[in-house]
Symmetry: C2
Amino acid sequence: MKVKNPRTGQYYYEIYPPSAQELKSKTDAMRHAQIAWQNGGIEFRIKALQAWKEVVIEHKEELIDALCMDTGRKWETLLEVDLVASSIDRWSNISSVFFSNTERKTSSIPFLEIEQGLEPYPLVGVISPWNFPLLLSLIDTIPALMAGCTVIVKPSEVTPRFIEVIQKTINQVPDLLNVINYVEGGGEVGSELCKLTDIICFTGSTATGKKVYQAACDNFIPVFLELGGKDAVIVTETADIERATSAILWGSVANAGQSCLSIERIYVQRSIFNQFLSRLVGKANQLNLAYPTMDSGQIGPIISEKQVAIIDHQLEDAFKKGATLKAGVTKCEELGGGFYCRPTVLTNVNHDMKVMTEETFGPILPVMMYSTVEEAITLANGTQYGLSGAVFAGSEEEAMKIARQMKCGAVSINDAALTAVMHEGEKNSFKMSGIGGTRMGPSAIKRFMKQKAYLINSQGVKDPWWFA
Amino acid sequence: MKVKNPRTGQYYYEIYPPSAQELKSKTDAMRHAQIAWQNGGIEFRIKALQAWKEVVIEHKEELIDALCMDTGRKWETLLEVDLVASSIDRWSNISSVFFSNTERKTSSIPFLEIEQGLEPYPLVGVISPWNFPLLLSLIDTIPALMAGCTVIVKPSEVTPRFIEVIQKTINQVPDLLNVINYVEGGGEVGSELCKLTDIICFTGSTATGKKVYQAACDNFIPVFLELGGKDAVIVTETADIERATSAILWGSVANAGQSCLSIERIYVQRSIFNQFLSRLVGKANQLNLAYPTMDSGQIGPIISEKQVAIIDHQLEDAFKKGATLKAGVTKCEELGGGFYCRPTVLTNVNHDMKVMTEETFGPILPVMMYSTVEEAITLANGTQYGLSGAVFAGSEEEAMKIARQMKCGAVSINDAALTAVMHEGEKNSFKMSGIGGTRMGPSAIKRFMKQKAYLINSQGVKDPWWFA
């Protein structure tokens, strides 16, 4: 399976997906290794993952190089690699508590007592996307490992170069042998994993997510899906325009908009609309493409060619229906064989346009005017998605009042896309943005453990109390 | 749709399932009513459910009469009706805490704060079975109502007589108008509900559960499935035989074995096998059928004719493969038009027989000898089910050591089927016994609420911290 370089459009890497037979052997070995991994206890697992963290840090440059080749962009890559260490540290700090609370408790029935146990799913499958190849391959994996599961990870076939490096770091930690394995491959390997694992975590598009849900259903296993978003921001007339425009621009164009939680719709109150637009356009025009070098600017390439077609299609649809270009481009540009999209601000947009209702995954900022807060909330809630959103207002109280009415899992208040930097809040996906428990916050680890109750008759009478 | 009386085999009741159009109107009205139900807050909801409890208590006799006609048995009916009140009281006592913990918290990033919100799924669908028609229609419903959801309940078309009575009690509480609705119907109505609701709770057979999972998948909603069981009990050589035989007999024959968590496999250590068997047979022979009247004995009719065929088929299969009858019958008996099965003890059974690996749902007690504890655990874990189980041993420590190795959601220690009487333990279903979060214990309410994170930049600087 050949892989393109997103900066040159050239094939220059090849992956060799395992056969169904090879996957089966691997997962059998992992199920065997899982017993010791679970029985070792949480402190043993923390120690092993801390050891891995040190190896990852030693190989930081090599990992960055591979990820830069995968994605064609640099500063988001640095962020990704740093997040490995911080994620392992965070889970090292908070995981133990889940395993400490197993004392026996009395119940409402005097001679019955309860003890709660936890039983990890032996083998977790993780299918992760190309937009943050390392970060999103680990966001579910680290808590699953802490829970006592083994994890087999299949990153996207679009960005597979880092796999060899990360697997090399795993191989240097003997306690992780067959506890975590990365595999290369596309949809066929993902489909096989749904047959071989006990639970599936998928991050990616809503269309593929539906297929994964179907595969989980066919195999009667639980599934956690983090899918598309069409995050809205509401800017009220009392908002700090300087602050709002800076935050929204970042929230929309970071990683060239290739983030599920990027801001994709901007609703601005009528009385400040022109002022807001002018500052947003001014700031958008200050940003540059990361071309010809990765250090030339902030906006890297569109990583997947399929995404280029979607962005172009949505822009074309918007212009056909009356949108006005205020900054940026009418379609993606090909530069040196790669595709790029400048931060693009649109006005005269409405919900008949795909750019306002379907996920774009590019640095497009459509700005729509509203009159009343009720109207803004209705618009913000008016898509099939519900991942996250944002509100800017003059006071936190005003912003929170609006945020409480937004149908999505996380709302940034006087800031944008904060879930990108803070993983402590617990949030579910609303509507088509996903299915299953929160992947953030301490509760995320609970997804990987079945609860088991020991119900103990401690009285020791000859006949049980209920036998007449 | 005509319904039979399980004691006479005669059609004598008719239900009128709503059309798809009628269901749609009803659920639209419920979605509208949900807003006030949620916004009223938890104390309002507790008050409304307590008011309902009082009405249910007033109509206790009428409800008991209807349920006795539905199921043909009496003392389990009394238990069911009493559990309505105790369930409402239990959830009234423990629900408030989930709504009190919304204060703002600092995060690891100094100028970011977090507030957690909860958002109920507006409309929950409950599809419940015929073995405990009232109890199992409410076990998910009460916490869902406390969470702020509205709930539409479709009980089994096999036992629908109580629906009219329970709906009448609901109609007497104005605050519950369109907050909880019972509907009559079979699989078609259940299938429609999967299209109209935001989340589905199903209790029933594994075969139908798979179809419900598929319907949830098709409609991209979450699902909670409580399905079949084949609960095993392990009796070690140190066990108190008197106690074990009494408890196991009750755990196997209560409700004529028509309970997902009934004991369906008994593994007894070789050295006490004969003594155990003799006491079990002696006690089994003391029980009588609840025929000709409901007060004639402890063992009521087999409620569903389809189940009669399954029990007979498993018995036939067992005898063909060499099982020995020690007490009871070789097939269900027809008496007065209804079908009954006496407590039936089998030996010389093995895992080639359906009676040892498939759900029976009847008062059948197959007893198998084992030599080592490892062998017993392998046998106990050797089916596709993992609902619950039990262990009897001379000490709690000995029993717990075995229980920890059993792959199921709840284990009764020196007792049997304790989940029937104590709903405080949190447990997940293992293997084909189900999918989704615990329906017992305080966590059960969390299934009905999405978590929502408010991520607040409280610093008030001009530019967000991360804008370079």
